[in-house]
Symmetry: C2
Subunit: 273 residues, 2 copies
Amino acid sequence: MGIAMVILSDKQTNFVSVTGSSYQPLSPTPAYKLVADAIEREILSGRVRPGQAIGTEAELVKQFAVNRSTVREGIRLLEQGGLIRRDSSRRLFACLPRYDRLANRISRALLLHQVTFGELWEATLALEVAVAQSAAEHATPEGLAALEQNLARTREALGNPALLAKLDTEFHALLCQASGNRVLRLAREPESQLLSPTTEVIFSKVPEATPRLIEAHGFIIDAVRRHDGEAAVLWMRRHVKDWRTGFVRAGNPLDRTIDSLYRDKQGESPPTP
Amino acid sequence: MGIAMVILSDKQTNFVSVTGSSYQPLSPTPAYKLVADAIEREILSGRVRPGQAIGTEAELVKQFAVNRSTVREGIRLLEQGGLIRRDSSRRLFACLPRYDRLANRISRALLLHQVTFGELWEATLALEVAVAQSAAEHATPEGLAALEQNLARTREALGNPALLAKLDTEFHALLCQASGNRVLRLAREPESQLLSPTTEVIFSKVPEATPRLIEAHGFIIDAVRRHDGEAAVLWMRRHVKDWRTGFVRAGNPLDRTIDSLYRDKQGESPPTP
DNA sequence: ACCAATTTGTCCGTATGTATG
DNA sequence: TCATACATACGGACAAATTGG
């Protein structure tokens, strides 16, 4: 019922009385957006915690005194934004926006903006180096174990480009997880999504890439184990640069757009939610 | 009309005939989502270029053979996702997802995930250093002029924390623009949004921060002018570290959550679209 | 395991005000 | 001025799922 008050007061500000006689409409916000905003405020302000239930549609209809379709339009806005979710029983819950959904959006946007491999690589270098540094500072034994297991599996994947690419992507994700930095995790996800298809091509076209990858991953793990940030950064930098070299050796120019890479692999569609 | 075919064939795959007698429903995708997906495919595949017009609602109704409400639900999904837009005449156009909208989403998510200043700072350091490097390599005279103008205005803003914070934020945005790397631009935007309120606090509580900021900005501009990436990186690193120091001097622990900072400044609401 | 009430998903038709040409 | 198209909102219908006995 608190929500209803909010929206009603908002509605009143849609019109401002002007001294004298007339009224001036002030960008009358649509009702469905007022509904969405009111609920969003509840969540962002912390009055409704993630995981906590929002009322049923019927309740919201009563509280806001609007039609169910209107409530549903507002809800759809928030659902699309990842702020609320429906569980199996389809009741509404506040929730934390999921990383992968956000990352998907960003990947899609970068594709449409026709960013080049070079731009993507530059950002990746910066982020991966930061991840290496942070992982060396914060890694736990469990994180290290996961990395070592990944390396072991990589050693057994020689000659299997698809699997190698998958394991390489996983290695960097695990390293970032070990760093415990959620901002880095969200920032590197889109780049990772977009670049993984290039990795496979490199492994199939540039044979020497595989041993160098295994060497680099091994040294990075060693550095992380010793909490030696400098060494981790050094090897990570080398590793990421190697991979740019591989991309060029595979016959691609650095200013090739990422979406042209996807367009070539006809079957594979770009990241879709 | 090509779109209509797509959706019709999709509809048929909702039901799969099983050898013998019965039919098995296969997660019947709602009609409005089929509409949205069909249009999204057109855009992502490049068959519809950003800026190009989509049909009117009535045309889509005919093509998909569904009710207008259904078309509108689908359209709203894409509009919310930033893939299509309406111009002044309300006709539908494909468009490039806007950076600031995406960045807003991410900022909101990071807030809700209760990331700490430390996490944010770590990512910012990495990205800003990369920006400095890239800007030194790619900056044009126009980009440099904009940076210099920003610096001049900063020198005149002494003692005005709010304006200083605004100009500092602008400086880093301009530098990133000068680098010409759109991936970096999108990656650093959310961090920038979330951290700008902390900047203001620092300037008001830590007097020595202002001259150090002006000094650093000046040296960064010099380095960029000389295309001296190393110097640009050096000064940027110093600058970003300074700012962490300022945050601590202002009395905050590094593991303070960002949303707690926003909650304190009651008036200022967190980033809303 | 069955039934009845509730809730949600989906879709349709209509109405009103507004912007466009 | 008028016709058209659009945004918004409402009301309702029916199917399917969920809940609570």
